[in-house]
């Protein structure tokens, strides 16, 4: 209860500072959000951010889950439209797959905010810069490798070729890494499926084949966790290893940063902030305000053991975002590279 009060207080404070303009706007009555995969921690926290923000603004907020099924996503959005929501927020399961949906929402006059990935014909999107996120983590990893790993960088990428966003992260990571260590190489490029058990399985084989790997990069926390666990399962010491995770999705990375010596860098992407920003964008669209096609939500590499504490509080097995710290991050106006560059 106390925690809730604090959250509310903090939130109100932020509102007073950042969102004073918002009060002057008309509020949509109801916002519907179709998420890609509600059961994933990342989206859980995006939803949390949205719920909090919607509650502050007095907007009714509903979520439906596509559960990784494109067809179901379209159906869920249709249901929202026929139910009569004022604004729709959609995280596409696949960018191409919702093109007709965007068109139909337009025809129906329902404003739509995309989250995560750009879609042809969209008005606006709230997303982090995946490439940049990877890039900055790559730079930090390069620095770490120079200081602690004797300047060698042999990377196992526990990737996910399925999504352009995750490919961008991997590319960004390697590019950033190469700015510090020019001869860094990606020794093995894996499809870890974005889930830990699959990541663990493919990593086991790759680690067995390549004895020289000293950096594990995961496109999300599950992937880096799978990679690290495969490393541990092979009975290897973490002394000369660096693990870099991406996302800061839930509690997993905090646990690993606290307890795994090699888990030194997290490319945090602050899902709560993404959700928060998406609701604000939705309100702006509802009021027919000008919005940029890409509203960037900030990310930041966290480097070193306790670095996560700068942005999060942990109590009772729940994390709470430190809004002031996150809001202080200045997002880039424009991403270094996007899916269009792939």
């Amino acid at each position: 209860m106390k925690k809730f009060a604090i959250t509310l207080l903090t939130a109100t404070a932020i509102m007073a500072i950042t969102a004073s303009a918002t009060w002057a706007q008309n509020m949509p009555k109801k916002i519907g959000y179709v998420t890609n995969y509600a059961t994933h921690e990342w989206y859980q926290n995006v939803i949390k951010g949205m719920q909090d923000r919607a509650a502050q603004l007095g907007i009714e907020f509903e979520v439906r889950d596509a559960n990784l099924d494109v067809a179901k996503e379209v159906a869920a959005a249709e249901d929202f439209m026929s139910q009569g929501v004022d604004v729709l927020i959609v995280t596409p399961v696949n960018e191409e797959g919702v093109v007709p949906l965007v068109r139909r929402a337009k025809e129906d006059g329902i404003p739509m905010v995309l989250e995560g990935n750009p879609v042809k014909g969209m008005t606006t999107m709230v997303a982090i810069c995946d490439y940049d996120t990877g890039y900055h983590a790559g730079v930090a990893a390069g620095q770490y490798a120079k200081d602690h790993l004797g300047g060698a960088a042999k990377v196992m990428n526990v990737g996910l070729p399925l999504l352009s966003a995750t490919v961008l992260r991997s590319n960004g990571f390697m590019d950033g890494l190469k700015t510090i260590i020019p001869d860094a190489t990606m020794v093995h490029d894996l499809d870890g499926g974005g889930n830990p058990d699959r990541a663990l399985e493919v990593s086991s084989a790759a680690l067995a084949q390549n004895a020289d790997i000293n950096i594990i990069y995961g496109i999300n926390d599950s992937s880096s966790q799978g990679g690290l666990q495969a490393w541990k399962a092979a009975g290897k010491s973490q002394d000369n290893l660096l693990v870099v995770g991406t996302g800061g999705e839930g509690l997993g990375f905090i646990n690993m940063m606290d307890n795994e010596p090699s888990y030194q860098i997290e490319a945090a992407m602050f899902p709560e902030k993404v959700g928060f920003t998406a609701i604000d964008a939705a309100v702006k669209l509802f009021n027919k305000e000008e919005v940029p096609p890409h509203i960037v939500s900030p990310t930041s590499p966290m480097v070193g053991k306790d670095s996560w504490k700068q942005f999060y509080d942990l109590a009772d097995n729940k994390r709470t975002i430190k809004w002031d710290a996150v809001n202080a991050l200045v997002p880039a106006d424009k991403c270094m590279k996007t899916a269009a560059d792939l």
Partner: protein
Amino acid sequence: MPQSLEARVDRVAPIPRLAAMFRRNETVLLLVLVALLVFFTIGSPTFMTTRNITNVLGQASIAMIAAVGLGMLVIAGEIDVSIGSLVGAVALPLVVIMNATGSLELGIISALVFALAIGAVNGYLSAYLGINSLIVTLGSMFVIRGGIYIYTGQKAIPDDLALESFYQIGNGRLLGMIPYPALVALAVFAVFSYMMGHRRFGRQLYAVGGDAEVARLAGYNVRQSKFIAFVLCSLFAGVSGILLSSRLGSAVHVSGLGFEFQVVAAVVLGGVSLAGGIGSLGGVALGVLILAFLSNGLGMLNLATEWQQVITGLIIIGAVGLDELRRRRG
């Protein structure tokens, strides 16, 4: 013709109509559907609107078309779990050819030819070589999906030319009201429901699924019947895939994942026995509608997805269990 034998023609006992009705699986399903509709209408003011109902019918039609095909195949005593992969795969020839030629028709034709080819391969391996169809299609499920990933490099292929006709087939509505896919589904359902009940073709599938050896002795070509059922099943999955692709405006490599489970669940919920020979397309259609309205209605009640899954699972067990009980009571 000896006279004495002519006498007792009319010994057919009159069936008590109402009792017979309740002995039918379709009646039970219809009651379940009506109960759901009533429940959701009470629970959500936006549920029972023309807009929402036509909306759900449009959504259900994709599964409906595939379920008609799968229903016939299961009645013929076989199964196809590769339809999910196929639904995703037909979009590739569709969109690729459409992009190359600018012709929706050519795209559709190549998609259907592709579906036919897959059906023929499944059918050949299963009906003619005699490999268990669950295994064959489990294999092709993996092979087709893997093939899609390899071909596309795990990326969706957009409809580059943004053909209006392509958009319309999946998203358009007749008179601005009835979604085109629903019309396709209705047509497919009506024609094949009639075929199953009133044409030799359909009775042959029932006979073959009921007892293949008996059907052979009665002069049916069992292998050919099953082969045709496989091909039709794939063809309808292909039609579903085309409409879905239009709704998605592209060939999405992950589309249709898990679709086979949905359709199998609908078919079984509809009272079709996995052992073959039992069931009706009417039941299948009701099974599809129940699952579609359930998903829509539970969403309208703003119930979290996880509850939806739990409830859907319970309803499947409940309905199939009831049906089993009903059947045992005879």
